[in-house]
Homo-oligomer: 320 residues x 2
């Protein structure tokens, strides 16, 4: 009994560029389907991922070991198993609260506050003067709002220091962490761990970062979760689970992984996560099903990772 692999090309359209390295607003990926199980592959070339074509070729050849393919396969297996049992994967899974992932200006932040978010994550470092002005102004308006600033390594050590210095003391006290503030080979990196008392977070380059951080970003779209949690347990990292700004199926997989991890066993503190990213994109049927972005995860319902009826209408292409 053999199962075929099917794929479906999709495109997500964002209102703005979604990281500090690119202004791209069209984001291509594929849904994959094996049996009844669905996953997604959504590479970010500007962040070092292989091309979508290479990953599809891996899939075709049964090479399931590159991170994005491996995770899509694992997602599809979890999904298919739950669908075959007629249950939602989210039954009895407690997904942590999320920060708001913001691209754009004050309006988006106002929306986030109105939606109940207590923490906002913003890309930063590309238009420093504007960003500093916005942050200071928003902190005056919402003094309890907490911040996470993701620089994607675009500044150097001096740049990041002058960025932080230009923030008010009160605002600095409300920053959860600075993510990828500068390249770890920067001469300012050694011994940094926190910058003016603000903890650091590292996304992709945990090896190069040589332990100079408090938070590691855990991405179920890429990471082998159990070894990563073991590493966190050994190194004393805290893990911030985040989605990959990918298809809602991938977003659901990330949320499910973050809820399944037994944080108490690993000694993890379970900080606010970053699982709420579908609001970055123009609505489509899948995105609308996720509801309005809010700090508390909402299951899309249905079986497996949900979207049962929408998946019936997807046009699948047999891979081999």
């Amino acid at each position: 009994m053999r199962s075929d692999i099917y794929i479906h090309h999709y495109e997500l359209v964002s209102r703005f560029g979604l990281n500090s390295r690119s202004d791209r607003t069209r984001h291509k990926g594929v849904l994959i389907k094996i049996g009844d199980g669905v996953g997604c592959i959504h590479p970010w070339r500007e962040l070092g991922d292989p091309s979508l074509e290479e990953l599809i070729e891996d899939l075709r050849k049964g090479r399931f070991f590159r991170p994005l393919v491996r995770s899509a396969i694992k997602c599809a297996m979890v999904d298919g198993r739950a669908r075959s049992q007629g249950v939602s994967v989210f039954d009895k899974v407690e997904v942590p609260r999320s920060h708001a992932t913001i691209v754009g200006g004050s309006e988006r932040i106002e929306e986030a506050v109105a939606a109940g978010f207590e923490v906002v994550k913003m890309k930063a470092g590309r238009r420093v003067a504007e960003e500093v002005e916005l942050l200071n102004a928003m902190h005056e308006r919402y003094p309890n709002l907490r911040w996470r600033l993701d620089f994607n390594n675009v500044l150097d050590g001096g740049g990041i220091r002058s960025f932080i210095k230009s923030l008010s003391d009160g605002l600095r006290a409300k920053i959860d962490f600075l993510e990828d503030p500068c390249e770890a080979n920067d001469r300012d990196w050694a011994g940094i761990r926190s910058l003016y008392g603000i903890p650091l977070a590292v996304d992709r380059k945990v090896e190069e970062a040589r332990g100079q951080f408090t938070y590691a970003i855990a991405k179920p779209a890429l990471d082998d979760i159990t070894p990563l949690c073991a590493r966190a347990m050994i190194e004393g990292w805290e893990l911030v689970f985040t989605s990959y700004m990918d298809h809602p199926i991938g977003q659901c997989y990330a949320a499910w992984c973050s809820g399944k991890v037994e944080k108490r066993f690993y000694g993890l503190e379970d900080p606010v996560a970053g699982l709420m990213t579908h609001g970055l994109f123009e609505p489509d049927a899948f995105i609308e099903r996720m509801g309005d972005p809010s700090p508390q995860w909402q299951s899309p319902g249905g079986t497996g990772f949900g979207f049962d009826d929408l998946l019936e209408d997807v046009k699948w292409e047999k891979l081999k």
Copy 2:
């Protein structure tokens, strides 16, 4: 809160060489411990694994992605979690029956039959005349006993054909499969899939084998199990779960993995497994705790993967 990694060097002593590529009888590995969770790393250099020293260095540096290290970490996390809950990992897990793994002659086979084994796995190909004689004689004595012959690629295409031809028809009908009968780049390999009606199995080189086999050997000590099961589902392989001829802790981990896999979901037939290998080694306290080898898996009891009292007496060395 940081956890340290501890290791403990062990040596298993076998009565004979344990694969067709070596006569080595002393086999070194390490137990690892993180928190209360235990795993083992047991490389087989003659089968292409990295050295124990390299793997320990990976462990020290937090590089948990090479297969033997990754699996030891996963084992330790499963084990630690169950120990922290005071439960055995084997509660409600149904481990499949196993073949007897035999090295040596008729006496071992007699023992296996007496212990209730219905299937015997033997290394073959190094002393062809002796092996053929033994097999034909044993088949006459035990006509219902089934066989699995593992050649570790030591013969060429011609050699394996002449081996099979020298077996009686009745015996051939009792062979479950021929494992790694010859190198996949042998000119006799293409289109082979079965040899005189006997299915083939492939252990390490599933890529090179280009689908010319019915059974793939699944080794939880090396394999990322979910992607492997997905691959089997897609390619129509059957999986034979086997231990790694490693420490009883690793043997238990393999047994647990094989019992946890939802074979029905993956469309797997759940053939007799190869999880009973501790009998190949001179007894020590851990091996004795596993009981006499028998086709039906016996949990060693205790919490996690068991051996609670024995692990208390292990001398652990802090890794960093």
